[in-house]
């Protein structure tokens, strides 16, 4: 799989850190037990021993509850990024925060959470003030002055343009690092993301033509997007998507209509997790960092699901169904 470790010295430190941190990962049994807890105090007590235990120990308000899981992931990714010889494995995971901030900037907001070096506070503030030359290059590829005028008329266009830019940015990052595993992960992720975007649009009755206008270009996936949009019905989608993601799409069609997209999302997440976990067996290298961050992100998602789910008295059966595959 990864037979050589040519860069072991450079990635050794961060990989050593990860080896020590991996001991803190929680098993599926932990989450299943937590999902069955009825008492809020018991839930909180169990969370003290997890990665977010420190955040709870300092005391958080109910307003901060939603963001504490994101903050924990963001701070871990940023900390590992600083120890990496290449920032790309961490940047791939931090990119979503940049694009959330970018959306906030384009809609005139001035408060930004979880900023990174790619889009620091000053640059985002400049975009808020209308300085579009500060936009990241992948976004500039699809937007023109006319697009910005369209933003004012229809806010939905921002989401489509930002989704397209985010996916282009991911593909750029994946191509910039010599790792077949990371490239494969990103390629599959981008394809799955395209399917989810278009699927949601179909369900919401949004005209798919505007996706051709604002989501593209997407490199090798441009043809797939055009074919999906041009398909007369969703039965043809599996063939167009192809390979594993196509199979997962087909499996998801078998679920209840309301759950199809979230089931597909879960299946894709588990599939991508399996790809990423191949990096666990590497002594040192970018795949190791990528695998850890992928596992850490999943852990945060599971913790968030169980914690908020139980606090809101959501049925434990639903929570257990929605749990993602764990790192350990």
């Amino acid at each position: 799989m990864h037979p050589t470790i040519s860069n072991i010295s450079q990635w050794g430190f961060v990989s050593g850190r990860i080896s020590a941190l991996e001991e803190g990962f929680l098993s599926r049994e932990f989450f299943l037990t937590m999902a069955g807890q009825e008492n809020t105090d018991d839930i909180l007590r169990n969370f003290q021993d997890t990665f977010i235990g420190d955040y709870f120990a300092t005391g958080i308000t109910s307003d901060e509850l939603d963001s504490v899981f994101d903050r924990c992931f963001y701070e871990m990714a940023l900390s590992l990024r600083n120890d990496c010889p290449s920032s790309i494995p961490a940047d791939i995971f931090l990119l979503k925060y940049d694009y959330l901030n970018l959306k906030a900037a384009l809609t005139g907001k001035s408060t930004f959470l979880f900023t990174t070096e790619l889009l620091p506070q000053e640059r985002l503030s400049s975009i808020t003030q209308g300085n579009y030359s500060e936009l990241p290059q992948p976004l500039k590829e699809s937007v023109t002055p006319a697009t910005f005028e369209a933003f004012q008329i229809d806010a939905g266009i921002i989401d489509i343009a930002l989704d397209g830019s985010y996916l282009r940015h991911l593909l750029l990052l994946a191509n910039a690092i010599k790792s077949s595993m990371i490239k494969r992960y990103i390629t599959e992720m981008v394809l799955a993301y395209i399917v989810i975007i278009l699927w949601r649009a179909v369900n919401q009755g949004i005209a798919l033509k505007r996706y051709q206008q604002y989501l593209l270009p997407l490199g090798d996936f441009t043809g797939v997007v055009n074919d999906l949009i041009g398909a007369n019905n969703q039965d043809a989608w599996q063939t167009i998507i192809g390979d594993k993601i196509g199979d997962l799409f087909n499996e998801s069609l078998g679920s209840q209509t309301d759950d199809q997209i979230s089931i597909f999302n879960l299946k894709v997440s588990n599939y991508l997790g399996r790809i990423a976990r191949e990096g666990r067996y590497q002594t040192a290298g970018p795949e190791r960092v990528f695998a850890f961050l992928s596992g850490f992100f999943t852990e945060m998602q599971n913790l968030k699901l169980v914690f908020t789910g139980r606090l809101n008295r959501i049925d434990q059966g639903i929570i257990k169904e929605r749990l993602r595959d764990c790192y350990v």
């Binding site: 430190f13 050593g16 850190r17 002594t283």
Partner: protein
């Protein structure tokens, strides 16, 4: 035998000694650096594991000593240290050169690979500290071949510098 040939043989012999300790020392430094990088990362999160990691870091350092032993043996057996310098034929000089080179290469590669094996062992200890005993076995297997190379080197040096091998005994 021409004195120039003897001088050339002597030069080759000490060139081999230089390669033995040079390559082995370089390999050990490299191997230790690989293990230390991994170890430092682990200690950032778990400083209490320092004691268990120390042996893993030190293991790739032994090759440097093996190269040093080989070089010293060449110098003592040929009389450069503590004795009368003996005549070394071109053939014996070349043989000792390649013995030194072979030893140096074996130590160089094994030290780096032992560093990588130590790094893997360090990762294992970080995740499962109770497995420290098993983790030390992996780099120890790599050590076997450094020791075998040293033994072969010692035998070669000793027998190549016997009077018979040097052509100093009448047949």
């Amino acid at each position: 035998m021409l004195s120039e040939w003897i001088e050339l043989g002597r030069g080759l012999c000490y060139g081999g000694a230089g390669l033995a300790f040079g390559l082995a020392g370089a390999g050990s430094a490299w191997g230790i650096a690989i293990a230390v990088h991994q170890c430092a990362g682990v200690l950032r999160e778990k400083p209490e594991l320092f004691g268990r990691m120390l042996v893993m870091i030190a293991l790739p350092g032994t090759q440097g000593f093996y190269g040093f032993i080989a070089a010293i043996l060449i110098m003592t057996q040929t009389g450069l240290i503590g004795g009368t310098a003996i005549k070394i034929t071109l053939g014996t000089g070349m043989a000792l050169f390649f013995v030194g080179l072979g030893c140096g290469l074996a130590q160089f590669v094994s030290a780096i690979k032992q560093g990588e094996a130590s790094a893997a062992g360090i990762s294992l200890i970080a995740r499962r500290p109770e497995a420290a005993g098993k983790a030390i076995l992996f780099p120890a297997f790599v050590e076997t071949y450094a020791v075998v190379a040293l033994l072969a080197t010692v035998l070669f040096i000793v027998f190549l510098t016997q009077p018979l091998a040097l052509g100093l005994v009448a047949k």
